[in-house]
């Protein structure tokens, strides 16, 4: 299409508006000044000024995951782009659609080691789904539109568009509207019907089936979560979820066994180990899920639904691969399932549920209560109880608190839970909460944090303060990098090398320094009051929740162990597992 000649910067803004972008998370700099100038006198796109580019990407991720829409980032060249790399890698690992616009030095200076020059497309090639260096302003509109198509279709992921400063100034009359498809990239959404039939045949003949679901269900959209509920309830089979998939199936439902994996529940891991048919829906057999590979669910037939063919047979051999989008595949599967049941009748899994009842009775999340010191698990139980009726979104940082949050918070709906799963990025939670809060201004957005992780993007207090974002930072402060300390205790004879959080700031005073509200709580009796106060205060709150310092997160599948060899809370003085710890 041709129209009035516009500058590259104007073309970008128009394209973003055309694509429905309402918010950009960014940070200005020399190589994006023309773009910032174009942002200056328009009111269609809101720009959120972060305090560090990594946080811009995490905020975009939080925005994307809480809305289902792609998040957009704008940073400058050189350090702006390199600071964004961790966020991009995080989005890549967790399949989050993010479009990151980076400024670049003018075209004629590329390759000359110019001021704030970095080879952004080279650096981000491995941590993006795709990236572009714009060499011709006439291509700009098409590239921006295509980038959105690539980021959101197939397995979602981050896309970088590197835009030299001169391209932002040059003019062009070429513009596009609506989604522009990539000329050859066409991920297949619909699964192979024969494979789906075979999956239904296996499932209908199973005695001990289990659904193992992941972030792919959430990425597939609300329809996928709805279809999942329908098919799981229709089959009557148990279901477990990965860290990334929590909320796709309601935690309160009796068929839900809780999270699986390294810190998953006893019942989920045992059911996965003993099942005869496993149906993996939008998950990827991550090493945190499988434990020792040669002992992973040894006697089951495995069905794997994934939109990314490279996820199939990557670590675990499956019997029935189905490449396709979860919602599309489940829709077909549901139809075939209903027809099969009409013909053959429904199986009941009484013996299987009896096995599960025994595992459940092990009460694997038990912890010792205390009247003197707040147990971190207790803090999360109370947080769950006092927020369960609210319109609430949770984010986390990475470590023990993250695993406890996954165990003790109960998610009933998708898109309510944002955590760094694949990359394990400390510092993710606070900016992600900012992104979620921007998308849902009236919701309660809580970052469950640790005192170590929160310091990795603590500068974002400035962002939250500037935009009056009522984000709640709920810091479980045990004065240790808790998960590091736990591994040092279990694998390195308690040699706590550099895992103590020394010289912590006074978090209450820090809150005050940013004009926010700070609460310190260290007695179990005061906990409910502190949480209620946190919720009641209209604005940014930091809760410094002092918890038991040496609590360990259990159950735990030690590295190198099979996924049904868990350390339970009451077995801390366990024996060594055969072969010792593995390297992962």
């Amino acid at each position: 299409m041709s129209g009035k000649a516009l500058s590259g910067a104007e073309i970008i803004i128009n394209s973003l508006v055309d694509l429905g972008v309402e918010v950009i998370f960014g940070y200005p700099g020399g190589a994006v000044l023309p773009l910032y100038d174009a942002l200056y006198d328009q009111d269609k796109i809101r720009h959120i000024l972060v305090r560090h580019e990594q946080a811009a990407v995490h905020a975009a991720e939080g925005y994307a995951r809480s809305t289902g829409k792609p998040g957009v980032v704008l940073v400058t060249s050189g350090p702006g782009a390199t600071n964004a790399v961790t966020g991009l890698t995080d989005a890549m690992m967790d399949s989050i659609p993010v479009i990151c616009l980076t400024g670049q030095v003018p075209s004629h200076l590329i390759g000359s080691d110019a001021f704030q020059e970095a080879d952004t497309v080279g650096i981000t090639r491995h941590c993006t789904k795709h990236n572009y260096l714009v060499r011709d302003v006439d291509m700009l509109s098409q590239i921006v539109h295509e980038a959105f198509y690539v980021a959101t279709n197939g397995r979602p992921g981050p896309v970088v568009i590197d835009i030299p400063k001169d391209i932002q100034i040059f003019t062009s009359a070429t513009s596009h509207s609506g989604m522009v498809k990539h000329k050859s990239y066409r991920p297949e959404a619909k699964g192979d019907t024969a494979a789906i039939r075979e999956a239904v045949r296996l499932l209908s003949a199973a005695k001990k089936p289990i659904f193992y679901t992941g972030g792919g269900v959430i990425n597939s959209g609300p329809a996928a979560a709805q279809l999942l509920r329908e098919i799981v309830q229709l089959t009557g089979a148990p279901i477990t979820s990965t860290l990334m998939g929590l909320g796709a199936y309601p935690a309160s439902d009796k068929q839900f066994l809780g999270m699986l994996g390294m810190h998953g529940t006893y019942e989920a891991n045992h059911a996965m180990h003993d099942c005869d048919v496993m149906i993996c829906v939008g998950a990827r057999f991550d090493d945190r899920v499988t434990g020792r590979l040669d002992a992973f669910s040894p006697n089951s037939k495995k069905i794997h639904i994934d939109i990314d063919r490279s996820s199939i047979n990557k670590t675990v051999r499956v019997d029935v691969p189905i490449v396709g989008d979860v919602a599309h595949v489940l829709e077909d599967m549901l139809k075939i399932w209903k027809a099969t049941i009409l013909e053959n009748g429904q199986q009941s899994y009484e013996d299987w549920w009896a096995d599960i009842a025994v595992w459940r009775s092990r009460n694997c999340l038990k912890y010792s209560r205390s009247d003197d010191v707040i147990m971190p698990q207790y803090a999360l139980e109370r947080l769950q109880e006092l927020t369960k009726d609210k319109d609430v979104y949770f984010t986390t940082e990475v470590g023990q608190h993250q695993m406890w949050a996954a165990q003790f918070l109960k998610f009933e709906d998708p898109n309510r839970w944002m955590t760094s799963g694949g990359l394990g990025t400390m510092g993710y939670g606070f900016p992600a909460a900012i992104g979620a809060q921007i998308a849902h201004p009236d919701a309660l957005v809580i970052d469950v944090a640790g005192e170590a992780s929160i310091q990795m993007n603590i500068q974002e207090l400035g962002t939250a303060a500037q935009y009056d974002l009522p984000v709640k930072l709920f810091i479980l402060n045990n004065e240790y990098m808790g998960m590091v300390r736990q591994w040092q205790e279990l694998n390195h004879d308690g040699r706590y090398s550099h895992s103590y959080s020394d010289s912590l700031p006074d978090f209450v005073a820090l809150a005050k320094a940013y004009g926010a509200h700070g609460i310190r709580v260290d007695k179990p009796a005061d906990l409910d009051g502190a949480i209620k106060e946190m919720i009641a205060v209209k604005g940014l709150v930091i809760v410094d929740c002092r918890v038991e310092k040496l609590a360990n997160c259990f159950p735990m599948v030690p590295s190198g162990a099979a996924h049904n060899e868990m350390i339970l809370p009451d077995e801390e003085d366990r024996q060594e597992f055969e072969g010792g710890a593995a390297l992962v």
């Binding site: 690539v150 490279s310 199939i312 047979n313 072969g579 710890a581 593995a582």
Partner: protein, 174 residues
């Protein structure tokens, strides 16, 4: 404290054909995937193959376990600018050729031997001076290697190889 384990599995040589958009950075994407995920590249050839120059064909010869080969193909296939990935080793009979230029610097005795070997290998003489030749030889990798090996005694100075180009036999395209 930690135990490590090594997988021992049989490896096989596979010739892959990859049709890609002929755009900046596409080769880096493909070979970056190999290095980033720890796969081998034994041969690599790349050039535009359609008249307009929109598409390039990359031929990669790689060595890996059946599992690794499956992964390589799936990982290549999900790169955005990759149109198609074909495994010639798996898809049936195919023709595989490479070209080498081989420079020899020889005395009188060597000269005769060099020309005789070149003739036997159907190599062409593409440059000659008073005491040197450059031979152009095409064929399968084994033939090229054998030729270069023989030329060692005939005053081999240096050689260059294009890497493998390959097509399936018969009328069908990839």
């Amino acid at each position: 404290m930690y135990h490590t384990h090594k997988e021992v599995e049989l490896v096989a040589r596979h010739t892959l054909s990859i049709i890609v958009d002929n755009e900046a950075g596409v080769l880096a994407r493909v070979i970056g995937l190999f290095s980033g995920r720890g796969y081998n590249i034994e041969h690599l050839t790349v050039a535009p193959v359609d008249l307009e120059g929109h598409e390039s064909r990359i031929t990669v010869v790689t060595v890996g376990t059946p599992h690794a080969i499956e992964q390589i193909k799936a990982q290549l296939d999900r790169l955005v600018p990759v149109h198609r990935v074909g495994d010639l080793t798996e898809s049936g009979p195919y023709v595989e050729r490479e070209l080498a230029l081989v420079k020899v610097h020889c005395n009188n005795d060597q000269q005769r031997a060099a020309l005789r070997i070149a003739e036997a290998f159907r190599a062409k003489t593409v440059d000659s001076s008073f005491d040197s030749y450059i031979f152009e030889v095409t064929g399968k990798t084994d033939k090229i290697k054998a030729f270069i090996k023989l030329m060692e005694d005939a005053g081999l100075v240096e050689s260059v190889r294009t890497g493998v180009a390959a097509l399936t036999r018969g009328s069908k395209a990839l």
